[in-house]
């Protein structure tokens, strides 16, 4: 049996996060047991931010250097990020029904999160249809939704609560075992995302060798049919 270090890290995280979130962390005084959804909802949203950061980094590098590997990295990160954004939205709705009293409302945080999911889908569509530089531009522009989502509860009045950990005052109004559960779960999500993105980028390379942009092929290569 072979063990890879990233695989071991992901497994340890996947084992530790539920223990922390379900057993170590206490229920919330106001929200009760439902509050535990936070240990999945918040890490999913943060990891979605990180995935868009990877899309941005790959896009910026791609605009400078033409490397097909960067196209694949951006696409893989966007696929994972779009899934995590959708997960954060669905879990937020499941939490919102008992705690807010509504499944959905067009408050600034919810609206901008839908925008971020839209930006991911636009990027993936451009990556599939055009690829290359156009996709890189779409990825860089789409990344702007990340500060928009984060700032939505700071700049505008919202139903969604202001940030607890990423707050501007650098003061964390959360009980230490709850914070620990949140951070362990976030580490697990980030490790899992990195692992999935790396594997997906590799499988994209195998699926379609070369860049999604038709690369100019110069040389004596002749189409297989003509060679016969």
């Amino acid at each position: 049996m072979r063990f890879s270090l990233p695989g071991v890290l992901v497994s340890v995280g996947a084992a530790a996060a539920p223990v922390m979130g379900l057993l170590v962390a206490p229920p919330d005084a106001v929200q009760g047991e439902v509050q535990r959804l936070m240990y999945v909802h918040v890490p999913a949203a943060w990891t979605a931010y990180l995935c868009f950061t990877a899309v941005l980094a790959a896009g910026l590098l791609r605009l400078v250097r033409r490397r097909p590997a960067l196209d694949r990295l951006g696409r893989a990160a966007a696929e994972v990020g779009a899934g995590l954004t959708a997960l954060a939205i669905v879990l937020g709705m499941l939490w919102g029904r008992p705690v807010w009293g509504v499944w959905w409302t067009w408050d600034p945080r919810l609206t901008t999160t839908v925008l971020m999911l839209g930006a991911y889908l636009v990027y993936l569509a451009v990556a599939r249809l055009a690829g290359g530089r156009a996709a890189a531009w779409a990825g860089c522009a789409g990344f702007l939704t990340v500060p928009l989502v984060h700032g939505s509860v700071l700049w505008w009045r919202a139903l969604h609560q202001p940030p607890t950990v990423l707050s501007p005052e650098g003061r964390w109004p959360i009980a230490p075992p709850m914070l620990a559960a949140l951070l362990v779960s976030t580490a697990a999500f980030a490790a899992l995302a990195a692992w999935v993105i790396a594997r997906r980028a590799r499988s994209l390379a195998a699926e379609r060798p070369g860049s999604p942009v038709p690369a100019p092929r110069i040389g004596p290569e002749v189409p297989a049919g003509a060679a016969r």
């Binding site: 206490p26 229920p27 919330d28 005084a29 106001v30 929200q31 009760g32 509050q35 936070m38 605009l63 400078v64 008992p98 705690v99 807010w100 009293g101 509504v102 409302t105 067009w106 408050d107 600034p108 531009w137 860089c140 522009a141 702007l144 928009l148 509860v153 700071l154 700049w155 505008w156 009045r157 919202a158 139903l159 609560q161 202001p162 940030p163 607890t164 707050s167 501007p168 005052e169 650098g170 003061r171 109004p173 959360i174 009980a175 075992p177 709850m178």
Partner: protein, 233 residues
């Protein structure tokens, strides 16, 4: 260098677009209004609107098919009669946002949403009672209400009488705030108030002074938590 120029043009366009969107959201598409804005608005309000604030302790009353309560932003109060579903976590001392229409001085709501603070803590082992607001001395002091929300400080009266003054400070927001008053030799502050908490700040207002109000929690002042109070001459 062509890439650099393109990047510059594109980012300038995106920043401009962002600023326009920000302005639009900031002015026109306010997600909810405050009781003070409703009280102060002279122009006709749109038929259906949202109002948000803190549910005043002791104001909640069960009514047929719903609940009645008072919403405050720390400055103005609004009586709400809600008909419809009530979330089991709805309680006094927490934030709420209601949707409906204003009917005279009463707001008739048909959608009630509970606004949660950004604080997470385990249930208390033994019941701890939050310190009650200090009793207000019945002496002839001038008194005003100051509301702390995300992200504004609003006072009911902009002008104070010189001499001893009481500020009834309420955190009607969803995160912790405090109030620091300076100017004219005055330097006073409340403790950090958790969402829903209030405190009375007593100070001696010097004749003709301009008092500056800010929230001392990091980053809150630049977000808009500042204001002034003038003392009469």
């Amino acid at each position: 260098m062509k890439v650099g120029v393109k990047l510059l043009v594109a980012s300038a366009a995106l920043v401009a677009g962002g600023v326009v969107a920000y302005r639009a959201l900031d002015d026109g598409l306010v997600y909810y209004r405050t009781p003070q804005e409703l009280a102060a608005s002279s122009q006709a309000l749109p038929g259906r609107l949202r109002v948000g604030g803190l549910v005043v302790e002791g104001s909640v009353l069960a009514v047929p098919g719903g609940v009645a309560f008072t919403l405050t932003d720390g400055v103005s109060d609004l009586r709400v009669v809600h008909t419809g579903a009530v979330s089991p976590v709805f309680a006094a001392g927490q934030g709420a946002i209601v949707e409906g229409r204003l009917d005279g001085r009463v707001f008739r709501s048909d959608r009630l949403m509970v606004k949660h603070s950004n604080e997470y803590r385990p249930p208390p082992a033994a019941a701890t009672i939050a310190p009650a607001a200090a009793p207000i001395a019945p002496a002839a002091v001038s008194r005003t209400r100051v509301g702390l929300t995300e992200w504004a400080i609003s006072a009911r009266d902009p002008l104070l009488r010189p001499g001893p003054v009481s500020l009834e400070v309420t955190n009607a927001g969803a995160t912790a705030h405090d109030l620091i008053v300076t100017g004219g030799g005055v330097s006073a502050h409340t403790p950090v108030l958790a969402p829903g908490q209030s405190a009375t700040l007593r100070l001696r207002a010097p004749r003709g002074a301009l008092l500056t109000l800010v929230c001392g929690l990091g980053g809150h002042e630049p977000l808009g938590m500042r204001g002034t109070l003038r003392v009469a001459t």
